[in-house]
Amino acid sequence: MTTIELKKGQQVAPVVKVKRKSRIGKLILQSGMIGWLFILLVWQIASVFSEPMFLPSPYLTLVGAIEIASDGTLFLYMGYSFLRVLAGWTLGLLIAVPFGLLIGTNKFVRALFEPVINFVRFIPPLAFITLFMLWFGIGEQSKVFLIVYATFFVITINTLTGVLSISNDKLLSAKSMGASKFQTLIYVVIPATIPYIFTGAKLAMGSSFMAIVGAEMVAANEGIGFMIWNARLYFKTDWIFVGLVVLGLMGFIMDRIFAYAGRKLLGRYKIV
């Protein structure tokens, strides 16, 4: 028989200091700074082995950004793109949520539309550019509707999933406490679906930023998408990169703001 002695516990005291030290390291790690530095480094090295015309370094990109920002153009473009995204996303939400609730609560309507949704959702917004221009004109409408389209399915499908995953117990208990069908919709179905709607809206925010470049490809006079297209036409690679970084930043910041607002305002709905 062997006798094995496992782990003699240590006093807690000496552990404390060690942890204290690593806390700053942990903070740096969690902030993602190292990840950023790593990416910048890779970008810098890659640009050294290339030409600025093809792959501008992070520094040259910054110079380009300052150039285009100095007369306020960059911020104007950001504003335009942002407002288009916001308008399209809001409108998308206003259309898709009631639609999702409708097909979620009504079996007949669901049977009617679900197959169609599962078909149309594979048609990319980009394929609709010409058609939307035809139908909605070359002004803001067609751009906004392209974004509405880009947000529609993800919000609808998430809302639908939310409605379908409400536990039967909740519906039965509302019924047995005397709630009418309409009251059940307002006071049970909608609140229970909010976390799903929120997730859908968050994903749709991402899709909106995907769609803005397409929306601003045709007949736009301003916007980050317009900037990227123009830079392509004249081969201003540094501005393409400025556009990429700005899009990433705008999406990232919107996402964080949205998540934060969700936590603050919809806390009771346990959004994720």
Partner: protein, 259 residues
């Protein structure tokens, strides 16, 4: 016909239930169910897993329809739905997590458009009755399992149902909490004078709570095999000799139809 059962709150005559709709000779989950529960009685439905206890309770609640037979519910209410309150096994799935405990409890009152002050007053009564004082502003997710089940009970009671239907309400609680809740339930039942149907498959729980125990047979074609009377005073002591004699008798029933 009903004149013979005026004392009764719930009566089922020759009830049967099948979930199959499109075959000629369906299998019945429940068959030849006869049941008669007196006003104010604490009735326990005891039976093995899957025999159809929940199905029967859902039929009494009006959530499901009988396939064959008669169901009579007798209450003093105009609207029958309100007459029956249902406590689900899982408080997690039944409570509304986006409402505070108090808001959950007021839900039924709000649906009936009771004014806010009155709602608050009634909610408070049941918060006190179920021992939830100090937890009114919390959300269900921040409560322990026992607390959640108290909140669900309070929510149902706030609608002042005459009949309380409970489907294994303490099945998911740990042993100690369960014991406490059982005692609380008896206290509340005595105070409020409800007719209670309580579903369980715990023999000890059945004897601890019930005035009458409806012992169900194994499914399909499950029915109420025996209605067993428990003539012990409350509160009951599970370590007493009388209690354990009852336990042995009920247990014997189950060995009879060998589960």
């Amino acid at each position: 016909m009903l004149n013979t059962i005026t004392e009764e709150a719930i009566v089922i005559k020759n009830g049967a239930k099948t979930f199959q709709t499109d075959i000629e000779n369906p299998t019945y989950v429940l068959k030849n169910v006869d049941l008669s529960i007196k006003k104010g009685e604490f009735y326990v439905l005891l039976g093995p897993s899957g025999c159809g206890k929940s199905t029967l309770l859902n039929i009494i609640a009006g959530f499901l329809d009988l396939s064959v037979g008669e169901l009579h519910i007798v209450t003093s209410r105009e609207e029958n739905r309100d007459g029956r309150g249902f406590v689900f096994q899982s408080a997690d799935s039944a409570l509304f997590p986006w409402l505070t405990v108090e808001e959950n409890i007021s839900f039924g009152l709000k649906m009936k458009k009771v004014p806010p002050e009155k709602r608050k007053k009634i909610a408070n009564t049941f918060i006190k009755l179920t021992g939830l004082l100090g937890h009114a502003k919390k959300f269900p997710d921040n409560l322990s399992g026992g607390m959640k089940q108290r909140a669900q009970l309070a929510r149902v009671l706030a609608n002042e149902p005459e009949i309380l239907l409970m489907d294994e309400p303490f099945g998911a609680l740990d042993a100690m909490t369960r014991r406490t809740m059982q005692n609380e339930l008896i206290r509340i039942w005595k105070e409020t004078n409800k007719t209670v149907i309580f579903v369980t498959h715990d023999i000890q729980e059945a004897i601890l709570l019930g005035q009458k125990i409806g012992i169900m047979s194994v499914g399909p074609n499950s029915r109420i095999e025996t209605a067993y009377d428990v003539k012990l005073p409350y509160p009951r002591d599970i370590t007493s000799i009388d209690f354990n004699n009852h336990y042995k008798q009920v247990q014997a029933h189950f060995e009879d139809f060998s589960i």
